[in-house]
Symmetry: C2
Subunit: 267 residues, 2 copies
């Protein structure tokens, strides 16, 4: 999966990344779904020891263009994992109170504590994406945010947080198909907003803003992965594999009892 | 499942409730687990429309004696449900800041909003259970809490919250077996605390405190269910059935789009 990792400081051109890529897996969708199931069981077991050990903190950041599959990935990658051990934080349009603080204020409140696995569905990166593309703040403000983000993530990492950031990479044609599918199915209309079409017109500006994100904020302690996401099974397979491998590398183990349990009798 | 519902104002004697009861289901464990799987799929679908509609709020309260199976029930009843749609709030020993407020302050902060399903793993009821048994506050204080709880839950209910409260009922022998199993398995020692044995000595006082809870706080708008919980599959089946039936009764549906989507073309 190294091929999807963005090396720190690397210039990324998204147009050169194939969102249909499935190279890192031998075998097609059917076999992929089986492996995904095995990975899901591994993830369940790893989450349990993460929770038991109460030592590590895990943060998974998901970003994507509209219809990129963040919701679906959360659903598929984490299904079966103990709902007590997984928290999803979704970042919507900031409230007035949130706007009255720095952009990391609302984010800091929901980072993982000991034993937690937190998923960000969108994140502080929106403050250098939608905010930049729509010029909600002047360039002089958003330009400083890359460094601020790096320092913030460094703080988390230095305090025991393992950070993984995934960009679910689809192309413009795939987005069109997915939007069209929502439009064609009346039961999906509630998901469709005309505003999504306005955002779609800004596709190139968003891609450029993402490229800057990868270039400036993929670090040793909080790396970005660009995940080919036109094929949902492959998207989920890449995320699951990286996550499981990363959690394995933590060498977690069930803690000993803090008390001496020798000769204890239960009356 | 009506047989497990506590009618408002009813005097409950827990010793008369059989924790091995499986009367409400024809067929044994194997068939029960199959039905549970079907209920789980129904729950998944209901949660999706709950989220889409953004109209109802659902609160599930779980209480039990130690080893009663709250964690296991959360795991089994909600597995496969979109982790984005289920939030678990666990109430631990209050922090100094929480202690510096009324006992419902920290609870109110985490009640469900529109479209949310929130599970309380322990709850504000601990403030008339452990707090009462250990006399952490004088009787004059905890006695008032039943009414305070009822008024609080009424507020939530009158503002669109569906509340279900489950007591997972095991007997003292079953607890002994479950504690012994933890003691016999070194990999489970981290779950074992000598303090649990001290709590076990207070079994009768806890049962009495629970009986008062049921008598005073099972209401039309926030009913208690006493779930036979010696058998895990049956426990999960009862909770799932009540939850699925309650959600069905909400007659939820996917919302229409707020916009006119006729003739929309995706460029």
């Amino acid at each position: 999966m190294k091929r999807y990792l963005v090396e720190p400081g690397k210039k990324i051109v998204l147009a050169e990344r194939n969102p249909n890529d499935t190279r890192a897996f031998e075998g097609g969708k059917e076999k992929g779904l089986k492996v995904l199931q095995e990975l899901n069981l591994e993830l369940q077991a790893l989450q349990e020891v993460l929770y038991a050990e109460q030592k590590h903190r895990v943060l998974v950041v998901l970003q994507a263009m509209d219809t990129g599959g963040k919701d679906g990935a959360i659903r598929r990658v984490f299904e079966g994992v103990n709902p007590q051990g997984v928290k999803v934080a979704s970042f919507k349009v900031p409230t007035p109170e949130e706007m009255a603080h720095d952009f990391l204020w609302r984010v800091h409140k929901v980072v993982p504590g000991d034993g937690d696995l937190v998923i960000f569905n969108r994140s502080h990166y929106e403050d250098v994406l939608v905010v930049r593309v729509h010029e909600y703040v002047p360039k002089s403000v958003w330009k400083k945010r890359y460094d601020q983000i790096n320092e913030f993530e460094k703080l988390l990492a230095e305090n025991g947080t393992t950070i993984l950031k995934f960009f679910l990479h689809i192309d413009k044609d795939e987005q069109k198909e997915r939007l069209q599918a929502r439009l064609d199915d009346p039961s999906k209309h509630w998901k469709f907003r005309l505003g999504d079409l306005e955002e779609r017109k800004l596709w190139d500006q968003y891609q450029e803003a993402y490229e800057d994100v990868f270039n400036k904020t993929s670090t040793e302690y909080a790396p970005w992965y660009i995940v080919p996401a036109n094929r949902k099974w492959y998207r989920d397979l890449v995320i699951s594999t990286v996550l499981v491998n990363t959690l394995k590398d933590l060498k977690m183990k069930y803690p000993e009892s803090e008390e001496n349990l020798d000769g204890v009798v239960i009356e």
